[in-house]
């Protein structure tokens, strides 16, 4: 491992022509990558971190202008490459691993064909075969997997296959752009271990991420990016324990668990919702894989926050559909405010529907894009006094009143989620089912939306079912936690108890897979 940098960047600028104007996405960024080390660039969406990564591959896209004082890869000046010479760099000297292999690998081609494409672009005498490469990233039965397509592989396996395409050309630098974002926590940990293995073999890794705990557990150095600039950089330990820049401090404070949790409000125990031995099995192609929920029971008190955690396929979405009365269980009963909710006919359910409302991960798809916010919220309200009530709801979720005349596309992700919350509150529900409500949001926005949800339950006494794959977030908001696996409840209890002394093996596994928050972070104030 030499100390000589493999890749050196100084004064990198990227501009995009938008209409008649110019948007500066990257404004003078500099860093170096060294063999056997990992540099993480951390930032929220729009910070310019992904554009920086693409600039290193000459793939910023049409309508852009890239300039730099220096951009050098082991003696090659990347600033003046022709398209043909760039093709010799991409894949062979710098590899790329993007997020979500389901869409980052061509869904119509086999995994083997995707790897072969790299090998064919960069022929070399000692080239490994696709099967060798799949074996290198620890894909079991590599010969068989090479003949399969991404949708036939599990999330973890296809992410490994994507990494194999990044490694196939034998690059010295690997850019990993949010490589674990689409994955379940336990899978995330394994994929990170794989990247660490490559780093330890001497690969220079550039990790692009929005996820501070992940960076803390994996990277050697970190650069915090905001508005196209690196505001702070240095060894991970130093930046996270003694942040100098205000923005770094804000990011650290927004990490789940960084802020002390307000005590749950005291109120009389009134049951809002009750689930009794409910089973709903999805007929699946493979009878060995059971999908659905099986014999699930729990109760939800008014004003309570119940966290539901589980990995993909655990039955979280099915449970949400049952609570919302969108599907009826095969066995068991869901009781809502004393009424046998799941046994009512569709007609009898309708007047009760206002009592349970849904908040989704990304509400954009559930808003009619032609409607303004006023109508999106107002649709759920009775005619008289509607305009005034929309104003109250906007105030309740912390949005300025002029938002009412805007279209959903003109809002930021955080504002959209607030509109979704206002709409869910409009009919005066007793229960809010929140399905991954903050998963699409940046850390600092996420913290504010979570705070809003907790304020609402305190102020309105509404009960929350908080469904998430993110244990940190669940820990921060929930009074009680339900751990789902394969459609069954494996553990249930007070949040602090479950996180401190998990009783079930699976819960321990889930908790172990969460990237460790550096203990030092709690010292930050």
């Amino acid at each position: 491992m030499g100390t000589e940098p493999l890749l050196a960047v100084e004064g990198l600028r990227v501009e995009f022509r938008v209409g008649r104007g110019v948007v500066e996405a990257v404004r003078g960024v500099g860093f170096t990558l060294t063999a056997g080390r990992c540099l993480a660039i951390v930032g929220e969406s729009g910070s310019g971190k992904s554009v920086t990564a693409r600039a290193l591959l000459g793939l910023v896209g049409p309508g852009s202008r890239v300039s730099a004082d220096r951009m050098e890869l082991a003696g090659t000046d990347l600033r003046s490459l022709t398209e043909r010479r760039w093709r010799g760099v991409r894949g062979a000297r710098i590899g790329l691993v993007s997020q979500d292999a389901l869409v980052s690998l061509d869904p119509l081609r086999t995994v083997g064909a995707e790897i072969t494409e790299v090998l064919r672009n960069h022929p070399r005498p000692d080239a490994p075969t696709p099967v060798d490469l799949l074996a290198r990233v620890h894909v079991p039965e590599p010969a068989e997997r090479a003949r399969q397509r991404p949708h036939e592989l599990s999330g973890g396996l296809r992410q490994r296959a994507l990494i194999a395409t990044g490694l196939a050309g034998g690059p010295a630098v690997l850019i990993a752009d949010e490589p674990t974002t689409a994955l379940d926590v336990t899978v995330q940990a394994k994929v990170l271990a794989l990247l660490a293995e490559e780093r330890d073999r001497g690969m220079a890794v550039l990790l692009i991420s929005h996820d501070l705990p992940l960076v803390a557990s994996f990277a050697d150095d970190v650069a915090v990016m905001r508005h196209g600039r690196i505001v702070e950089s240095g060894p991970v330990g130093q930046v996270l324990t003694a942040p100098r820049h205000e923005y770094t401090k804000t990011l650290l404070a927004a990490m789940p668990g960084a802020a002390p949790k307000p005590p749950p409000p005291h109120r009389e125990h009134v049951e809002a919702l009750r689930v009794d031995q409910v089973t709903l099995a999805h007929p699946g192609a493979d009878p060995a894989i059971r999908r659905g929920v099986f014999d699930v029971s729990f109760a939800l008190a008014a004003g309570e926050v119940l966290g539901v955690v589980g990995e993909s396929g655990a039955g979280k979405s099915t449970l949400a559909e049952l609570l919302l009365g969108l599907r009826s269980p095969h066995q068991g009963v869901v009781t809502l405010g004393g009424q046998p909710w799941s046994r009512l006919s569709a007609r009898d359910r309708r007047p009760l529907r206002r009592r349970v409302q849904l908040i989704q991960q990304d509400p954009l798809g559930s808003f009619d894009p032609r409607h303004r916010v006023e109508r999106i919220i107002g649709d759920a309200l009775p005619g008289p006094g509607r305009a005034a009530r929309v104003g109250e709801l906007l105030e309740l979720v912390g949005l300025p009143d002029d938002v009412r005349s805007r279209h959903p596309r003109q809002l930021s992700g955080g504002q959209r989620q607030r509109v979704a919350i206002a709409r869910a509150l409009a009919p005066g529900p007793e229960v809010l089912v929140c399905d991954e409500p903050v998963s699409a949001l940046d850390a600092s926005v996420r913290a504010r939306v979570l705070r809003l949800l907790l304020d609402l339950r305190r102020g309105l006494g509404v009960a929350l079912v908080f469904i998430s794959h993110d244990l940190g977030v669940v820990r921060e908001v929930s009074d009680r936690v339900l751990v789902l696996r394969g459609g069954q409840v494996v553990e249930e209890g007070e949040t602090e108890r479950v996180f401190a002394e998990p009783a079930h093996e699976y819960t321990r596994e889930l908790l172990a897979a969460v990237p460790a928050r550096p203990a030092v972070v709690s010292r930050v104030d």
Partner: protein, 315 residues
């Protein structure tokens, strides 16, 4: 296997439906087919009655319908009133000419539109604008006008191609080109749209980051994704063409189902009309089956699903 059986049943159902609709149309149409057939101003009543009995038109409607279905199952489409020949053999004589025209026009359009779409999708803005304008002109120009233009220039003036009829390849060129011009406009628009959509997908960035050239990215990745909407369109196009390209056949005075149909409708020759309707329904049903199977070849994710889900639509 169950899927295949269901589709075959569905195909039979469609053909039966079309046959029934044709039968009902025949009997609901005003006018007496026998009188039309005889053509005289006032044919003798006993002759009318005799022919009516021969054709079975004096039976109750339900019995006529059952007899008609029975003949259909045996492959008997009846006799043409006008041409004095079995409908099956009338159609058989025309199918070859129609298929040659349909397939050559379709093939020509495909061969031209694939490179056109690949060359202009998401790049070369000036050329792209020029080509899309041409496509719009091609789509919106009526095919009889294109045909007349080609005829007057290439046949009458330059004498490169036969003016009318003409057997074999020389006689096929102009009609096929006339058909292909409009189709090329539609095909290359659909293809370009599909390629451009595919080029925005994340896996294209992955392919470029592997050092693949622009041409390779388009050929190996984007084109296949664009094939699905084109496949849907192709099934419909071939089906329409196989049931007769009336206008082009008339302009070039070619043989073909389209002209036979037009003549039969004008002469109220209902057995021929029903025959063509049933044939067209069968062709469409079979093409649908073929297209459905091809979907699964183009996109293996669709295997085992009833109908293709458009790209990018979440489950």
């Amino acid at each position: 296997m169950r899927g295949v059986a269901r589709r075959v049943a569905l195909t039979l159902f469609v053909v039966w439906g079309a046959a029934t609709a044709a039968f009902l149309a025949l009997h609901l149409m005003p006018g007496d087919p026998v009188l039309t057939m005889l053509g005289d101003a006032l044919p003798p009543a006993d002759r009318v009655a005799r022919i009516r009995a021969e054709l079975g038109l004096d039976q109750p409607l339900a019995e006529q319908y059952l007899a008609y279905l029975g003949r259909l199952v045996r492959g008997d489409l009846g006799r043409s009133y006008q041409l004095e020949a079995p409908v099956a053999s009338v159609l058989g004589e025309q199918v070859g000419a129609t298929a040659a025209l349909a397939l050559s026009g379709f093939g020509l359009a495909l061969v031209v539109s694939v490179p056109l779409a690949l060359a202009t999708a998401g790049r070369r803005p000036a050329l792209r604008r020029f080509v899309t304008t041409l496509e719009l002109v091609a789509i919106s120009t009526p095919s009889f006008w294109i045909g007349v233009l080609l005829l007057s220039l290439l046949s009458f003036r330059l004498r490169w191609f036969p003016v009318a009829g003409g057997d074999g390849v020389p006689g096929l060129v102009l009609p096929a080109v006339t058909l292909a011009i409009g189709l090329t406009g539609v095909f290359s628009q659909v293809l370009r749209d599909g390629v451009e959509r595919a080029l925005r997908e994340p896996f294209v960035l992955s392919a470029r980051a592997r050092g693949s050239s622009e041409a390779a990215v388009r050929r190996a990745h984007a084109l296949r994704h664009a094939a699905i909407p084109l496949l849907t369109l192709s099934g419909w196009t071939i089906g329409t063409l196989l049931s007769g390209a009336v206008v082009v056949e008339t302009v070039f005075t070619r043989q073909g189902l389209g002209r036979v149909l037009a003549t039969a409708i004008a002469a109220r020759d209902m057995p021929v009309v029903t025959g063509i309707v049933v044939l067209a329904a069968a062709v469409f049903a079979v093409l649908n089956l073929v297209v459905d199977l091809l979907y699964q070849v183009a996109d293996p994710r669709l295997a085992g699903r009833a109908s293709p889900r458009p790209e990018g639509v979440p489950r």
